[in-house]
Amino acid sequence: MNDLLTEPVLTALIASALLAMAPLLFAALGESVSEQAGVLNVGLEGMMLFGAYAGFNGALYLHSSWLGLLCGALGGVLASLVMVILCVRMRLDQIVVGVALFLFAEGVTSLLHGAQFGHEYPRIDHTGEVDVPLLHDIPVVGKSFFHQHPIVYVGIALAFAIRWMLRRTSIGLSLRAAGEAPAALDAAGVDVTRTRTAAVMACGALAGIGGAYLSIVGAGSFTPMMTQGAGFMAIVLAMLARGKVLWVITMSFLFGVSLSISTALQLAGITISTDVIQMLPYVTVIVVLILFARRSYLPSALALPYFRGER
C-alpha cells in the first residue's frame, strides 16, 4: 500500500485522472444544460464523435490545438442540429432520434476517416500542454494539475460560469423553465422552441470540445468509435447531478480517477485486469443508487415535446 502513495504514482494518478475527466466534464456540462431545458440528449456520444473527428482534422490541418478544439465545437454543433430539427422543432421522440444519431455518427465518422486516411492513423505531435509558471513546481499537484492543456482550466471555469448562469441570470431561468414548465415560460412570452434550440446547440458545442479533447490531447489521433462510452457516462453523470454543476465537477473527477486508476496501480506494482477497472465507475453508481435510493430528480418536462396550446 505504501507503493501507492509515492509521489510519482500520485502524480501519474492525478494527471491521468484529469486527462480522463476533461471530456466527461465538458460532455456532462452540455448534457446538464440540455436536460435542464427539457431535452434528453441520448445522442451525446455521437456529438462527441463528431467533435473528435472534426477537432482532429482541425488540429491536423491548422496546426493548432486551440483551432482544433474550436473545430471540434463546431462539429458538435453540427451534430446537435439533427436533434434540434428532429426533436425540438419536429417534436419527434428524443430517445429514438438520440440513439439513431449515435449510430449514424459512429458510421459516418468511421467512413469519413476511412475515406480520408485509409488504414493509416496520422498523429498530432504538439498537443499543447502548458506549465503554469509558479504553481508548476509544487510537488505532486504541481506536475499533474498544473501541467495540462489550458482547455482543462477553461472547462472548470466554464463550469462555474454555467452554474452562475443557471442560477442567477434570466437566461438560466428561462432554460430551467423550458424544462420544468414550458407552458408557463410560453405564457411569459419567451419562445420555448428557441430556448431549447439554444440549449441543445450549446450541448453540442460542449460535447464537441469534449470529443476533440479526446482526439487531440488524449490520444493524439482519431480512431473510429474512440469515445468508448464516455458520452453515456456523461449522460448518467448529468442525470445524477440533477442540474447541480458542483456535483458534475466532482463526479467527473471521481469517474476520471476510477478510469485512470489502472495506470497508477500498474506503477505501484498492483495488477488488476482492465475489465474490472472499467467496471468500477458503473458499479459505484449502481451501489450509490441502491444505497441512497432517492428519486433522481429530473425536470418534469424532460423528453416531452412541447406542443403549443395543448392542455
Partner: protein, 377 residues
C-alpha cells in the same frame, strides 16, 4: 328602422371516424424511408468515389440472392428478432431497457462457457434445452436491479439499465478471460461447442432452428400483447401509469414482469446465437445488437408483425453490407450510416404522417374546432 341581422347558416356538425390509412398508404409509408435512405447513402457513396449501383447490387446479391448469403441472413434474423421482441415487451410498458447489450453478452458468456461441458454430460437435446433456459434466466436476472430501482424507488431506468449495460459487458469479458477460458491457444474465448452438438439444422440447409424459435416467440408476443389480459395491463401501464394505479393494476409487479420478460428474450437471443451460430464466445466481442434494435423497434411502431419485416430487411443489409463494404474498400461501419439514415427518414416520414392525420382530423370534425390532442405515445 329595421335592421337586418346576418345569421350564418347553421353549422353542420359532421362526425366522422378518424382517418384510417389504407393498405397502400401504410405500405408506401414503410417503403418511402427505405428508398430515401438508399438514395441518400448512394449520394454519399458517389461523393466518396464508389459506384452506388454496384454497391447496392452487391448488398442485395450477397445478402439475399446467394444461397449462402440468404441462409446467413435468416440466421441473423433469428438473433435480432428475439432482441427486438424483448425490447417491444419493455417499451410497450414504457420501460426504457437500454441495457440490452449487457444482458445479451452476459447470457452469451454463460451459455457459451457452460454449454460444451453440459451438453457433453447430459446429451444434446436436454443440454441444449437447459442452455436456452439458462440464457433466459441470465438475461432476466440482469434486469432485476434496474427493475427493482424503478419499481420501488422510482429511479429512472435509463440510468439503471445503462449502468448495468456496461457492467454486464465488462463482466462477460471477465468471465470469458477467467473461469470460462478455453485451453486452446489463441484469442481468449470459451471452449467451442462441436458442430454436432449445436442447435439442429432445418433440413439440409445451414439454417438452424433458432429462426423457428424466434418467429414463434414474436407471434407469441403479438398474441400476448394484443389478446391477453397481461398484455393489456402492460400496455395500459405504458400509456398511462396513473390510470393503471387507479384501475387496480400493480405497477410494481408489472414492472418486474415486463423487465424480466424483456431480459429473458434478449438472453434467449444470445443463447440461440451461441448454440446455433457461433458456438463460442470470444472476449471483447460486442456486436451491439441491443442498441441497433432500439430505433428499429420504435419505427416499426412496436408492432410485432411490422418488426419482423423490418428486422428481415435489416439483416439482409447487415449480411450483404458486410461483404459489399469489403468489396468496395469501405469500412464495415458504413452499414451504420445506412441504418442511421434509414431511421432518420423513417422518423421524418412518421412526422409528416402524424401531421397529415391531424390536418385531416381537423378538417372533418366540427368547425368549432376541437383542439386535437397529440396521439398518446
Amino acid at each position: 328602422m329595421s335592421t337586418t341581422v346576418q345569421v350564418d347558416p347553421p353549422v353542420q356538425i359532421v362526425s366522422t371516424p378518424p382517418h384510417t390509412p389504407g393498405r397502400a398508404e401504410v405500405l408506401g409509408q414503410a417503403v418511402l424511408p427505405v428508398v430515401l435512405s438508399i438514395v441518400a447513402s448512394g449520394v454519399l457513396l458517389a461523393i466518396l468515389g464508389r459506384d452506388p449501383f454496384t454497391f447496392y447490387g452487391d448488398v442485395l446479391h450477397n445478402g439475399l440472392l446467394t444461397g449462402f448469403g440468404l441462409q446467413q441472413s435468416i440466421v441473423r434474423v433469428a438473433t435480432l428478432l428475439l432482441i427486438a421482441g424483448g425490447l417491444i415487451v419493455a417499451f410497450r410498458a414504457n420501460l426504457w431497457n437500454l441495457g440490452g447489450d449487457g444482458q445479451w453478452l452476459l447470457a452469451a458468456a454463460f451459455v457459451a462457457g457452460l454449454a460444451p461441458r453440459l451438453v457433453d454430460a447430459v446429451g444434446r437435446t436436454p443440454g441444449l434445452a437447459l442452455m436456452l433456459v439458462l440464457g433466459c434466466v441470465i438475461g432476466a436476472a440482469w434486469t432485476v436491479v434496474p427493475a427493482f430501482l424503478k419499481a420501488v424507488y422510482g429511479v429512472n431506468e435509463i440510468i439503471a439499465t445503462l449502468m448495468m449495460n456496461f457492467i454486464g459487458i465488462n463482466l462477460a469479458n471477465i468471465l470469458v478471460k477467467g473461469p470460462f477460458l478455453t485451453d486452446l491457444p489463441g484469442v481468449p474465448r470459451t471452449n467451442i461447442l462441436p458442430l454436432a452438438q449445436r442447435l439442429p439444422l432445418i433440413g439440409s440447409s445451414q439454417v438452424h432452428v433458432g429462426i423457428v424459435i424466434a418467429v414463434a416467440m414474436m407471434l407469441l408476443i403479438h398474441f400476448g400483447m394484443t389478446r391477453t389480459p397481461l398484455g393489456l395491463r402492460l400496455r395500459v401501464l405504458g400509456a398511462n401509469p396513473r390510470a393503471a394505479v387507479h384501475l387496480g393494476l400493480r405497477p410494481k409487479r408489472l414492472t418486474f414482469v415486463a423487465f424480466a420478460a424483456s431480459g429473458a428474450l434478449i438472453g434467449l437471443s444470445a443463447a440461440v446465437s451461441m448454440l446455433g451460430d457461433w458456438g463460442s464466445f470470444r472476449a471483447d466481442f460486442n456486436p451491439a445488437y441491443g442498441f441497433l434494435m432500439v430505433p428499429l423497434v420504435f419505427l416499426a411502431r412496436m408492432n410485432a408483425l411490422g418488426t419482423m419485416a423490418l428486422v428481415a430487411v435489416f439483416a439482409v443489409i447487415q449480411i450483404g453490407g458486410d461483404s459489399a463494404t469489403r468489396q468496395a474498400d469501405l469500412p464495415a461501419d458504413f452499414v451504420l450510416v445506412l441504418v442511421g439514415l434509414l431511421l432518420f427518414f423513417m422518423a421524418i416520414t412518421e412526422y409528416y404522417r402524424l401531421r397529415r392525420e391531424r390536418r385531416l382530423d381537423l378538417a372533418t370534425t366540427a368547425p368549432a374546432g376541437g383542439a386535437t390532442r397529440g396521439a398518446i405515445r
